[in-house]
């Protein structure tokens, strides 16, 4: 993993390569992470590809519900020759959940970005085919948001058997 100093050097190069992209660096449990402004994600990934991180392992989204800006998208990058991993994180608010899509130059992000759109509602501009991937196409709501109820039926014991099986919400 790029250790703390290596991360700082990398972030410094990145700052003068792509101005006002890097918001913060983080070194947690031996793993390096870069917090990046959403608009410049394409440029940052290209820069890191130049530095050897040629493999995009995973793109996953998450919901920091009580905190603002609410949605997070993270890109796990892997350098197969130097055996190095780095994470690029970005945060997007609820009212303007737009993130430029990296699918054109990283084809592996295609389905993963569609899944983030399906589950969280983050819109990836420039994605060739942004449709729902897991939920049925006519499903309203984004299930993995933290304020979306888990759903399911209440377990019927004898005392609430008469209540029937209405859904929780």
């Amino acid at each position: 993993m790029p250790d703390a100093t290596g991360l700082e050097l990398l972030a410094a190069d990145l700052r003068e390569q792509v101005p006002d992209a890097v918001l913060d660096t983080e070194h947690f449990r031996g793993k390096a992470a870069l917090h990046v402004a959403p608009a410049s994600i394409g440029a940052v990934l290209e820069f890191l590809r130049g530095r050897g991180f040629t493999f995009l392992a995973s793109v996953h989204g998450l919901d920091y519900y009580p905190e603002e800006p609410r949605f997070g998208v993270q890109y796990e990058l892997l350098d197969m020759s130097a055996l190095d991993r780095i994470t690029v994180k970005l945060r997007v608010p609820l009212d303007d959940p737009h993130v430029p899509s990296v699918t054109p130059d990283w084809p592996t992000a295609d389905h993963q970005e569609r899944e983030i759109y399906d589950m969280f509602g983050v819109i990836f501009d420039g994605h060739p085919d942004l449709r729902r991937i897991l939920m049925p196409d006519d499903y309203e709501g984004h299930p993995q948001r933290r304020d979306f109820p888990v759903g399911g039926e209440p377990v019927l014991f004898t005392y609430n058997e008469a209540q029937g099986t209405q859904y929780t919400d």
């Binding site: 947690f28 449990r29 993270q74 796990e76 197969m80 592996t108 589950m119 299930p143 888990v150």
Partner: protein, 416 residues
Amino acid sequence: MATETRHLDRTTTLEPTERIEQHGDLAPEQELLTLNMGPHHPATHGVLRLLTTLEGEVVRDIKPIIGYVHTGIEKTAEDKSYWKAIPVVERMDYLSYYFNAMAFCGAVETLLGLEVPKRAQYLRVIHLELNRIASHLIFVATGGLDLGAVSMFWYGWRERDMILDLFEQTSGQRMHTRYIQVGGVAEDVPRGWEQNLRKFIKAMPERNQQYRALLAKNEIALSRLKGVCPLDADELLKYGVTGPLLRAAGNPWDLRKAMPYSSYEDFDFKIPVGTEGDNWDRFAVRLAEIDESVKIIEQAIDGLPEGPHIADDRKVVLPPRHELATSMEALIHHFKLVTEGYRVPPGEVYYPIEGPRGEYGCFVRSDGSSKPARVHMRDPSFVNLQAFAPMVKGAYIADVIATLAMLDPILGGIDR
């Protein structure tokens, strides 16, 4: 036959007249048929729907449509405390349940900064490799079935039952055993287990030889697999493919060697690598991996160190039963762990391990409470499926079935 493929945005069959202006020369003699190799299909290894556009027998365009077994596992895991989330996470990729549990527990242990004792790491490695062999056996069985070698099905399940007996002996259940806990393994191995395991280690390589004898010289299997739907290594890397598919194309990337975890560095084993990256290499690489896994298990069982089978940090690990009768403090820990579960310091960790289909990376974010704030499993089948379309464009329908069998997607992992 290398007519370039026209990307059809409309998925319904086009009226003959419409098609004429849209495709010009193709018009008179061949009409494109859009067909669902849908969710309920014997050869899609689960409920994968392939929307294929066919020109006669040749596949012009294929669109995998998934989500038919989406279970909302990641949402359910957020609703359960950490030690309760393991059974839910284990049911994602239902052929490699030990790997799901290992990835999740590895991530939580990294968050906790918990050190797993050596014996537990060895036991984990043995069970992971047994599970890899069981998963590859099902690949060989259903792959052979798809190619028409129906007897492979029975051989594959005969060996798999031997492995599942071993799982049952250590953890009491055949599948989804919840044997890997945060901090180590649930129980130490019972007495007769080692003899059974050695019997299995002796039997497996020569059974593997039988598979090679059955299929490697089989004219039909060879003609269906050799040189069919190849994809070279850097094209696969663009699509994020890892695991046997990538190794079959010549790139020896294996996390067990590259970034060893859970004491894999103590064992010496080789990484089988293919050359062309066609269906035959994908098949042969997995058969060779079974032999390598048997070697790892043998070294692990020989060098099994003494010591605790689980960490002894009472804040995270349940105290042993006999201690409850004597010490009050153990009772308090037990009660607290069972009711509320342990709290994990806030943070985000991505913990990748090498599974039978590629890199299983479990991303866990904790907000300090006793329930994970976010659990995401980077499932290899989900990412490898994206490389399926470029593989089969321009191939016959029969090759689509063979390639899908060699891709070995597990829909539980894809749809999560």
